[in-house]
Amino acid sequence: MILKNFQAHGPSPAQADRRALRQLPSASTSYQTTTQLHHRIYSLVHPIYTHQTAEVLLGITGKDFTIIAASKAAMRGATILKATDDKTRELNQHNLMAFSGEAGDTSISQNTSKPTSASTQCATRPPSPAAVSSFVRSELSRALRSRRPYTVNLLLGGYDTITDTPALYWIDYLAALAKVPYAAHGYAQYYCLSILDKHHHPDIGFERGMELLRMCTDELKRRLPVDFKGVTVKVVTKEGIREVEYVDDKPVKSA
């Protein structure tokens, strides 16, 4: 009798569950069942994670500098659309961002460069590399659980003018952040990190840094099956950011 009443007047448990779910803040969009929601969350990390790109991003720090190198090829599928692409952006005088990933999503560099530039800060000095990395990570991690996350990997090269130390931050599209002495993104990681493991030292000077970069790009030319059209090289030092001419026309002896 009670059961009959319940069915006649109250919602069935399944309906109540769905109703409650719709009122949850995290379920405010069109997801109606828990299963759909779980698929949505898992899809953030699941299918695309192992996907690595042939776009090359490299970062090397030394005693008083951070070198950032980014491949010049703008690729779409198997086609190279442009061979002089610049995948870097100056966020402020001492912070440089390099990005690779979904073409439109690289707008994160624009969306974060404005708040981190000197002129829009209330404070008297531009934000340090640590502050910039923290801000960029928070933007990326907020986007990760939004309707449309950024699918870009980033390197942040900087120079902290207060402590007089170079800084390099590795950030992936899931907004995992790590402060590292040297870093790479995409397939370049597999070739370059082992070289840098062997040869890098925190006290190296700029010349040695460029030598290490040369070892890395030579290895990439030797091993990477695609032509990434060379790299643009920028350096962050106490004086600021400057582009370095990087002659890359010598053929590399194959393995």
Binding site: L21, T34, H46, Y49, T50, L174, A175, A176, L193
Partner: protein, 196 residues
């Protein structure tokens, strides 16, 4: 295929001793088999005797650690006192359950000493179910030998437990941090571990 919990790798363990607790984590940050960084600590302090270890998806480790820093700072301002381990454990539980249908992919461990000087440790699943424990959280099977260890013996035990575990796991390792928490003293040690 990899689950979000095992993309970046990591290990964390907490143990109780006599009037002391220990919590330890490894330092690796990886991308499946590739190691990105060997200095990515996973233990965070929220009061002189409350520590939180977070393993799982690295982005959520940072997000959750920052979220609790904010929440505990607000608690301290409102209450004008430090947060107790048990209170913090309930805060972790309710905060994780808030995200019931879109969870943070982390497995937290809390270790601390309460106001009475008694050890407190517990673990959680990613949606905040608390797992209270008398002896230890994460790693192996329960063992009575762990109970009644002094701080130095506890350090040796937790270090051996963690190092032996991470040496067997390709996704963890590359050094470790160990915290020994006593009533009025916290000792942090860096274990170098295997660097290969």
């Amino acid at each position: 295929m990899s689950s979000p919990f095992s993309i970046n790798g990591g290990a964390c363990v907490a143990m109780t001793g006599k009037d002391c607790v220990a919590i330890a984590c490894d330092l690796r940050l990886g991308l499946q088999a590739l190691t990105i960084s060997n200095n990515f600590p996973k233990i965070f302090s929220y009061s002189p005797s409350v520590y939180l270890g977070l393993t799982g998806l690295a982005t959520d480790v940072s997000t959750v650690a920052d979220l609790f820093r904010y929440k505990v700072n607000m608690y301290r301002l409102r209450e004008e006192r430090q947060i107790a381990p048990r209170t913090f454990a309930n805060l972790v539980s309710s905060s994780l359950y808030e995200r019931r249908f879109g969870p943070y992919f982390v497995s937290p461990v809390v270790a601390g000493i309460d106001d009475g000087g008694k050890p407190f440790i517990c673990g959680f699943d990613s949606i905040g179910c608390i797992d209270f424990a008398k002896d230890f959280i994460v790693s192996g099977t329960a063992s009575d030998q762990l109970l009644g260890l002094g701080p130095e013996d506890l350090f040796e035990t937790i270090s051996q437990a963690l190092l032996n575990a991470v040496d067997r796991d390709a996704l963890s390792g590359w050094g470790a941090h160990v915290y020994i928490i006593e009533k009025d003293k916290v000792t942090k040690r860096l274990l170098k571990g295997r660097q290969d």
